[in-house]
Symmetry: C2
Subunit: 449 residues, 2 copies
């Protein structure tokens, strides 16, 4: 079993001879099972599982816990040398350490066909992840087909028909995720990372100047025009109705101020507002005019509204820990991604570093630690598309999954190695091309080539 189970408590089957489990009963104990709801940050994912002949019983307050428990049950089943399925008697009481356990996929740098996204939602469920952070648009392309502004993908997608997510596609992905207890949080990153937006929306981006004349290139979203905010209001209103989750990730990262600085109209505006030369104030001005829920850390660094979730992604090990300490000491909720940039590959067993990182491992009070809601493994899209995404993500993301679900004390690397090796073979057998950790074999090798 991997990425799961607070107290494994394996018990050998009591009967000396062969015994059988004839039934798995699933009891949802709460009056509202939440079967028809969307999962949320506060969803109850706890469950209790008892395996004992002749019955196994899975109890959960809500459907979300039942889903997690079914996954655990399936992982308890093992095959013997003759191919027979076995399960040991056991009692498990399980719940996640963190409420937010996400995977970020980037569909802008490379378009990801629906099939790839669905396969990875399946793999996420097998690893008890519960958030799909969909970095849907960015500089290189705008594949989101907006009903309100169809020209955004018409002009900004790699191809207006073959490389877009239609409203039906998005709906299907959200429902497929919901059925697995996974939230879909879309990210529409602004004011930077918006080159592709500019193609379909006139006057949205800031014209950069070279000296006193426009250079012909464009920078971040233009934060001084009313048209910008009316556009954003309409777009985000659509987004809120398309994506049911309470959170929309507004990005806010890596804004290049040089274009704003070059533009005389922006300069005048800065002066009027009394921002001096501090362009981070202009970014905050912009972000505060959007109704922001969840953002990247720079926005915090530069000052922001309270009640916002801060996503930490930058810095070396010391720097991100300091950032987590600062954010939580200011009373904000936070989640961690810095050590989990799984797009950054290296030769060898880099899952170990991934596994060792802990989102609560920074200097702070117990109250501060409680403000950490979890983390996300990120697979940015520069070097991945449908050809290589799944084996690059799995089972490395499984190491993140266990860190975010299991008890803090579960840190033994060699124990994790053997469980993770088995788990990756389990993923392979279920059709997920999860790559090997090291020299080894799976009883059932990947057949999907």
């Amino acid at each position: 079993m991997f990425g799961s189970v607070r107290k494994p408590g394996y018990v050998k089957s009591r009967a000396a001879g062969p015994s059988e489990i004839s039934e798995l009963q699933v009891w949802i104990t709460s009056a509202d099972s939440e079967c028809d709801s969307y999962p949320s940050l506060t969803s109850d994912e706890s469950y209790e599982l008892t395996v004992d002949q002749p019955n196994a019983v899975l109890k959960a307050s809500k459907v979300w816990g039942a889903l997690r428990g079914l996954e655990t049950f399936s992982q308890l089943v093992y095959e013997d040398a003759y191919g027979a399925k076995n399960i040991n008697s056991t009692t498990i009481s399980d719940f996640p350490r963190f409420a937010h356990r996400g995977i970020l996929l980037d569909t802008s740098r490379h378009f990801l066909p629906i099939k790839v996204i669905l396969a990875n939602l399946e793999a996420m469920a097998m690893n008890k992840f519960n958030v799909f952070h969909w970095h849907i648009v960015d500089d290189p392309s705008f594949p989101y087909l907006s009903r309100t502004f169809p020209q955004l993908s018409q002009q900004g997608a790699y191809h207006p028909y073959t490389h877009v997510y239609t409203p039906a596609d998005v709906k299907m992905i959200i429902e497929f995720a919901r059925l697995r207890g996974i939230r879909v949080i879309p990210e529409f990153d602004t004011p930077g990372h918006t080159q592709s937006w500019g193609k379909g929306q006139k006057d949205l981006l800031t014209p950069c100047y070279s000296g006193t004349t426009p250079s012909g290139t464009f920078g971040p979203v233009n934060p001084i025009l009313n048209t910008t905010y009316s556009f954003m209001r309409q777009l985000f209103s659509e987004i809120s109705s398309v994506f049911p989750d309470a959170y929309v990730h507004l990005g806010g990262d890596e804004v290049d101020f040089s274009c704003w600085r070059s533009n005389p109209d922006i300069q005048n505006f800065m002066e009027q507002q009394g921002f001096g030369q501090d362009y981070s104030k202009l970014e905050s001005f912009y972000i505060q005019k959007l109704k922001g829920y969840m953002i990247w850390q720079e926005v915090f660094d530069n000052g922001l509204k309270p009640d916002t979730l801060i996503h930490v992604w930058k810095g070396n090990q010391q720097q991100y820990k300091d950032e987590m300490a600062n954010i939580t000491s200011a009373g904000y909720h936070t989640l961690l991604s810095t050590p989990w940039y799984l797009n950054r590959i290296s030769y060898g067993q880099d899952w170990q570093g991934v596994y060792r990182a802990d989102p609560q491992d920074f200097k702070g009070t117990e109250a501060q630690k409680k403000l950490v809601i979890g983390g996300e493994a990120c697979l940015w899209g520069e070097y991945v598309d449908a050809t290589n995404l799944t084996p690059r993500l799995w089972p490395r993301a499984s190491a993140v999954a266990e860190r975010l679900w299991s008890a803090k004390e579960v840190t033994d690397i060699s124990d994790a190695y053997s469980r993770l090796s088995m788990h990756r073979c389990r993923l392979v057998e279920r059709g997920i091309p999860a790559e090997p950790l090291f020299t080894s074999f799976c009883p059932h090798e990947y057949k999907g080539v």
Copy 2:
């Protein structure tokens, strides 16, 4: 077009209006087409291709050139925005710079299902590779099912039935390769890298000693027993009949002398032979008793028979160049792999370093340079299996393919980038999950997820 074509000589279609190619004529001009032969180191792969309405003509002396020319023809065809297939008028006279252009796959560290091997033979043909170096057995497992010594795979494979290559499998792989002009050179690496051999063949490996008693562990092949040589004679006799190629790679790399040194019988033998403490002499003694054709470089370093091919794989950039200079100045033929260990991944566009390396880039005379027969891209198996092998190998191996086929002067990186990007989309469209070089898209994304 990528990995091909000495003098592209693109000519725009002469006719102003639409014109059509109605036929591609393939002429094999030699009396013996070699259609029923196996390819070899001296196979003629040259061809001439003329595309002009209403006919295209492909002329080659042998079938091998015709195969390469057909690949080029297919790469000249491009799709316009309406999906129509086009080809420009052109005349091409093409031949490879190096005769040995190989890919090494390792089926011991991870077993590779037949399907993966065949898919990669297809991809090799698309890239004009002509040698499949099959590193078939090694320490971790012995998947080769030997008719003479079936206990080798019975005991030494990961699984005796599901993780072996039967005689029929091997025959099929060799024929599949032959039909694409690809030689299959098997490697049975000895005397090191043989832990898996010891499981099915008693007394083959050297018992290691701890002080005056056997430690229970085993080292390299035992070179002082007559039984070793009678076993090897029978095994290699079978191998020579199963694999039609003139070359068998005997390995000879990374022999750990400490076990030999610990063993009193070996010590005595060393004394009798007058080898002193020089265990490399014992390795040469062993290798010379095998009929060796192609070996790793250490065997050269330690002294060997003439008429042998030396495979250079170690060292940093300066060291491997010095090694190539030394080997060729001693008059041996050589091939290069050091810069082409494609298993060693790093984040970013590492294909560029791969592309820049040149097997003739060392200090030496023209005569020395002529002793370089080519090179091989190696994908060792520690971290790859059926789940991730193909995207890890392609299109990075395509950079090696072009270096080994095209003229020495073809080195422009940005030109290579644009051709390689198109080529990788071509591979993807043909069902090979070749990974992206960078942020981009293919008109037809990978569908095989």
